[in-house]
Every structure is written in C-alpha cells, then in structure tokens.
C-alpha cells in the first residue's frame, strides 16, 4: 500500500478573512457525505447533523454592525479528547493525522460527543430517511449511518484513499496540492468554497500551501491561531485571523 511508503499528515487552513458565510461548504458536505436532511424540527430538537457549520457572530453596534463568520469542522486533534474515552475504539487516531470514526464499532455511548471541545460530533438519534427523489443522489462511496451511531467530519477519507490509489498506486507520483485539485480528490467543502477560505493539504509536504501558510502566519504578529489552544488538543486545522481595520478580533477572544 502506498500509505506505508509515503506518510501523509492531512490538515487544513481556514482563512477567516476570506469567509463570506455563503454556506457552500455546508451544502457540499451534506451532499457528499449522505447526511440526512436537517429539517426544521431536527433543528428545533437540536439534533441537526452538520459536519461543517458556519458560526456567525455580530460585531459592533447597530449602524456600523459587522457579521463575522467562522467555519467549524472536526479539528482532527493530535491529542483528541474524544478518542481515549471510547470504550470500543470506535474513534482513534490513524497514521495520517486524522481522527477517524469507525461506524460499525460504535455502540452509542455518546461519551466522545461529551468530551469534544469543538462540538463537532453528531449522533443519529433517528433512522436517517431521504425523500424518494433524493434516493439516487446518495453517494455510493460513503456509508449511510443508521440510528444510534456517532458521526463526524472525515476529511472525506474516501476521496483521499482514492487519491492514494490513483496518484500513488497507479501513477506512482507523490500527492501534491495540484494533483489533488485536478483529480477532484479535495474534500467537498474545500472544492465548493468560492473564496478559498478552506485550504486542504499535507503538513508533511513542505511544498504544500498549508505548510507555507503555517510558516508565514505562525510568527509573532502573524494571523495564525488554533481554536481553544489552551486545551493542548493540538488541532490539525489552523485558523487565520480576520484582517480588520479597527483591529479587534472577537474570534480569537474565544480561542
């Protein structure tokens, strides 16, 4: 297998400055990952499933009020609090820096969801159903999760596996930002993002864009930061602050 030969460490950079809150990533994610429709009553019950969500903050007072957006998805932490608490290894850290969820191991204790600081784990309280018209839209590469199972962002692992097969297995090249892009192997949300807010890549590949962004922004005065850094969870997803004329950042007040 190619995965042994080349050791990837997938990650993402999210540039808040570019986010317009268009929610394209959310829709793409729903479509790609066979996520049941979040009907109104699901939201009312607070049981909606959104692997990636765009949180909105208001900044300032009325006439000059600004909307701030921050897309939040599983941070794929190196020290993920959700992993060790699972009694059946349904979630663990794979050798590509991803926090993976194994659906058929999950027994539904929901402990991982309690212990996730970012609230990006979702439980199937109901059996998922789709209207007849959408039956054929389901993605054959992704399992449909039945009720009683925990699920979360996978960085579209199905696409990455395919990338490894095609690019590394068949062509024998190394995976780069470019060939990920042209082969449509990028996670759906990244693909769908019109403003390149979400940038996906390989931390172990020094030439990748995310690595260079980290270089550039994780210096004093740089824009780079991690969500809830003081918890020491060491996310593989890093954020870039908003560039603001009147430099005040509500966002990193949370970090």
């Amino acid at each position: 297998m190619a995965t042994e030969t080349i050791n990837h460490k997938w990650g993402m950079v999210i540039d808040i400055d570019r986010c317009t809150g268009c929610q394209a990533c959310v829709v793409a994610c729903q479509a790609e990952n066979n996520i049941p429709l979040n009907t109104e009553d699901r939201f009312r019950q607070r049981r909606a499933i959104e692997w990636i969500r765009v949180e909105r903050y208001w900044e300032g007072e009325f006439p000059n009020i600004k909307a701030r957006f921050i897309p939040i998805l599983c941070q794929h932490c190196e020290n993920a609090p959700c992993e060790p608490v699972c009694p059946v290894y349904a979630t663990y850290h794979n050798n590509q820096g991803m926090n993976v969820q194994v659906y058929n191991r999950c027994v539904g204790t929901r402990y991982c969801a309690n212990n996730c600081s970012y609230q990006v784990r979702f439980f199937n309280f109901w059996e998922p159903v789709w209207p007849e018209s959408l039956k054929n839209q389901l993605n054959p590469d992704v399992t449909v999760r039945s009720r009683g199972i925990m699920e979360k962002c996978t960085f579209n692992i199905q696409r990455l596996r395919k990338a490894e097969r095609v690019i590394e297995g068949q062509r024998g090249e190394r995976i780069t930002d470019e060939n990920l892009k042209e082969g449509n192997f990028l996670p759906a949300c990244v693909q769908a993002c019109p403003t390149d807010t979400l940038i996906f890549g390989d931390w172990n590949d020094p030439s990748s864009k995310i690595s260079s962004l980290k270089e550039k922004h994780f210096v004093d005065g740089g824009r780079g930061y991690k969500l809830l850094d003081d918890l020491g969870t060491q996310p593989n997803v890093i954020y870039l602050k908003k560039v603001d004329i009147n430099a005040e950042h509500k966002v990193d007040a949370h970090a």
Binding site: N79, P84, D230, L231, G232
Partner: protein, 458 residues
C-alpha cells in the same frame, strides 16, 4: 485485626484510682535529669535555628526562594501539632475507651500551636500580594490572605489551648489537692478554685469539650485549606486542584497520628508512665494509621489521575514540576515514606499488633511528610512569576543550603522543646479519663473464660 485471641484487659485495671493518681502526679513533678539534658540540647538547636532565621531576615523578604524551606518547616510543624489535637477530640467524640491514656498526649500539642503561630509571622512578609494572580480570594485586596490566615490560625491555636485547659482542669485540681496547695498558690489558674467535680461540673465540662471539639474540627479543616492554598497552590501557576486542601489535611492527620505513636513510644521507653500506654493503644492507632496511609494514596491518585488523563498544558506543567521532573526525587521519597513503606509494614496484622511495628511505620511517615511539604512549599516559593496561568518553563530545583538546614533543625527542635515544656504545666497522662475508664470496664467470668465488658452509657 482478624485473628481473635483471648481478652487482654489493661494492666492498670488492677490499680486503684488512688494509686494511679499518685503514680502519674509523682512522675509529673519529677521529670528526672534525662528530661532536662534533652531540653538543653533542643534549646541549643533552637538557638541555631533562630540564628538561621535571623540570617534569612537580614537577606530580606523579597527573594522568596530563600524562604522555601522555612515555609516547608512551618507547614510541617503547623499541620503536625494542630492536627494532633484533633486525634483526642475525635476519639472522645467516638467514645472509644482505648483513647483514655493517650488523650492528653494528643491535646498537649495545642501548646506547640503557639509556636507554629510564631513561625507564621515572618512568612506574612514573604507572601506576595495577591494582586493580579490567582488566589483563594479572587478580587479581594492584595493583603487579604495575610490577614485572614493569621486570624484563622490564631483562633485555631486559642481553641486548641482551651481544649487542653478544660480537658486537664480536673487533673490540675487533683494535683492541687494532692500536693495540698492553697488557692493562692494556684492563683495563676483562675478556674481551679471553682471546680468541685460535681455532676453539674462534669456535665458542663463534657459540653464545653464537645462544643470546642466541634469548632476545632471545622476550624482545622479551614485552616488547612487556607495555608495549603495560599502558601503553596496559589503560588504555582496553573495549579487548580480541588482535592489538594483535603489531601493536605489527610497528610496532616496521618502524620499527627504517627507523631502520637512516636511520642507514646518515647514515653514508654523513657518514663514509668509507659505502663498506661499498652499494646491496645498502639494497635488501635495503627489501624487508623493504615487507613490514613490508604487515604493518602487515594487522594494523591485522584488528583494525579485526573491531571494525567486531562493532559492540558497547565496540568502537564504542574505534574512535571512537583512530581515527575523538577521535584521528582522529593516526590518519590514522600510517596515511598508516606504510603509504600508504612503500608507494607502495617498491612501485616502480626506486625501491626506490636509496639515496634507501628512505631517504625510512624517514624517513616514523619520523615516522609516533611518531604511532602518540601515538594509543595519549596516548589511554590521558587516560582518567580505568579501571574502566569500555565507553567511553560519549569523553575529550577531549590536545594537546601546551610541556612535552610539550620532553620529546619532549629525549627523542629524548637517545636519539640515547646512540647516538653508543656508537659511541665499539665500531666501527660489524663488521670480523670483513666479513672472513668476503670469505672466503665470490668473483666468478668463468662462460662469458661474471662471476658472484658465495656459499659455503653447513653
């Protein structure tokens, strides 16, 4: 604990009350030369300690890290002496018969409380203001802990002395009558002339001791919390450990029981009063000692484990600092001597049921407890910047210098000296309680054997 054997009635049961009184008082009045020689030596060491303290003061109060070992010694003396009083208080509340001979030994430590209070005073200048740092007192004025800790410890000491005084009042009166003093001779004891041992008086004494005891119990827990948090936890950035005050208290209880066992042993081997302190007392105390050892581990474990599992930077910092890196040696010593060794000694019933077994364990614990205090207080005082919330780069280990050794030795021998002098004021064996014991227990014949019968008056 498990294997049962035939009844051992205390040997003093076949002495009459009169004999006991004379015996104790006679010994009380003539401690013997040995006593004074030891007192002399201790006094000398105490002076050395004073010199050390003087040198510390001349260095000034600003450099906290100098004061680490002094603080540790203070904490050691405080938690031992003040908690030792609790032993008699608690046992009296539990109406246990075996406590009687050792009640006074434990109460006598109230006197050392005065000494520990004196030791607190210099630290008040060393303790930094709480402005801009985490503390028990949130947004209160900067010198809040200095004021409140002093008041709390002060009232605790006074309460302890009151307990000692009321508990030994009947004996003081007996002493006065036996030695045929007049009321003028004892004018320094305001209450003596008014005590006639009427049922009303006894009832009153019982109530007073009960109330004081209850108050002392609560107060002690609070003081443990104040001292341990203000002088140790709050000084180490990122250390937020809800169980620490309880752990500090448990360690105090454990050590003070050990202290009483050792005192009993010394009394046995150096004075004729030993005959009142028998296997029964050692055995009973050693059971509690074993329990406290287990609690020590339990409390330590629950804080260590929570931190180890949480793995937040702040927690890892603290773990490294006071357990696994900077103070790892001290921690290992404390861990072995407060838990491992005493546990292994005491868990064997055959050993536990001897005089030497508990004494050995107790000695080890006393040393271990000191290391434990070092690990917290020295570590706390060695931190430069208290305003941080995470301990990124660990401060270095502060190793004791000559001055520190002078302070430690002097400080501790001063405490022992205070105790010895205390025994001059109050008889070390509680006469009235032993007499009461005589009244409330009998050895009877039951079918083919003798059996001990304990009265349970409601």
């Amino acid at each position: 604990m498990h294997e049962s054997h035939h009844v051992v009635a205390p040997s003093y049961l076949d002495m009459t009350a009169q004999e006991i009184t004379n015996d104790v008082l006679e010994r009380h009045h003539s401690p013997g030369n040995q006593f004074w020689t030891v007192a002399m030596i201790l006094g000398g060491l105490f002076v050395v300690g004073l010199v050390g303290l003087f040198m510390l003061v001349s260095d000034g109060f600003d450099n906290k890290s100098n004061w680490g070992y002094y603080a540790a010694t203070f904490a050691y003396v405080f938690s031992l002496s003040q908690t030792a009083v609790l032993v008699s208080v608690a046992l009296r509340m539990a109406k246990s018969h075996w406590r009687r001979p050792l009640a006074r030994i434990s109460e006598m430590f109230a006197i050392v409380g005065v000494y520990s209070f004196a030791m607190l005073v210099p630290l008040l200048w060393v303790l930094p203001s709480i402005e801009g740092r985490r503390s028990l007192w949130f947004e209160w004025p900067g010198n809040t802990p200095h004021i409140w800790d002093t008041m709390a410890l002060g009232s605790l000491v006074i309460c302890g002395l009151a307990i000692l005084y009321f508990a030994s009042l009947p004996d003081l009166v007996t002493d006065k009558e036996v030695s045929g003093k007049s009321d003028e001779d004892v004018s320094y004891h305001p209450l003596i002339p008014h005590w006639f041992g009427t049922p009303k008086h006894w009832q009153l004494q019982k109530i007073v001791l009960g109330l004081l005891g209850g108050f002392y119990f609560l107060m002690l827990i609070i003081v443990h919390m104040l001292i341990s948090v203000d002088f140790a936890m709050a000084l180490i950035p990122g250390w937020k450990d809800a169980i620490f005050p309880a752990f500090h208290a448990i360690n105090g209880i454990q050590a003070s029981i050990a202290l009483i066992i050792v005192t009993m042993f010394i009394l046995r081997s150096t004075s004729s009063l030993g005959k009142y302190l028998e296997l029964e007392q050692f055995w009973a105390l050693s059971k509690i000692l074993l329990a406290t050892c287990l609690l020590w581990f339990y409390f330590w474990w629950s804080s260590f484990f929570t931190y180890w599992y949480g793995r937040m930077p702040a927690e890892i910092g603290v773990l490294k600092y006071i357990m696994f890196e900077t103070y790892s040696t001290v921690f290992l010593l404390a861990f072995t001597m407060c838990f491992v060794i005493p546990f292994l000694i005491l868990v064997v019933n055959v050993v536990r049921k001897t005089i030497w077994g508990p004494t050995l364990a107790a000695t080890v614990i006393l040393i271990g407890t000191f290391f434990n205090q070092v690990r917290y207080y020295v570590a706390g005082f060695s931190v430069e910047d208290h305003t941080l919330h995470v301990l990124e780069n660990l401060p270095d280990f502060t190793s004791p210098g000559p001055i520190d050794f002078m302070v430690i030795v002097g400080g501790i021998s001063g405490a022992v000296l205070t105790y010895m002098l205390g025994t001059r004021l109050f008889p070390i064996i509680s006469i009235w309680e032993i007499k009461e014991g005589l009244m409330l227990q009998r050895v009877r014949k039951f079918m083919k054997r003798d059996i001990r019968v304990l009265a349970k008056p409601e």
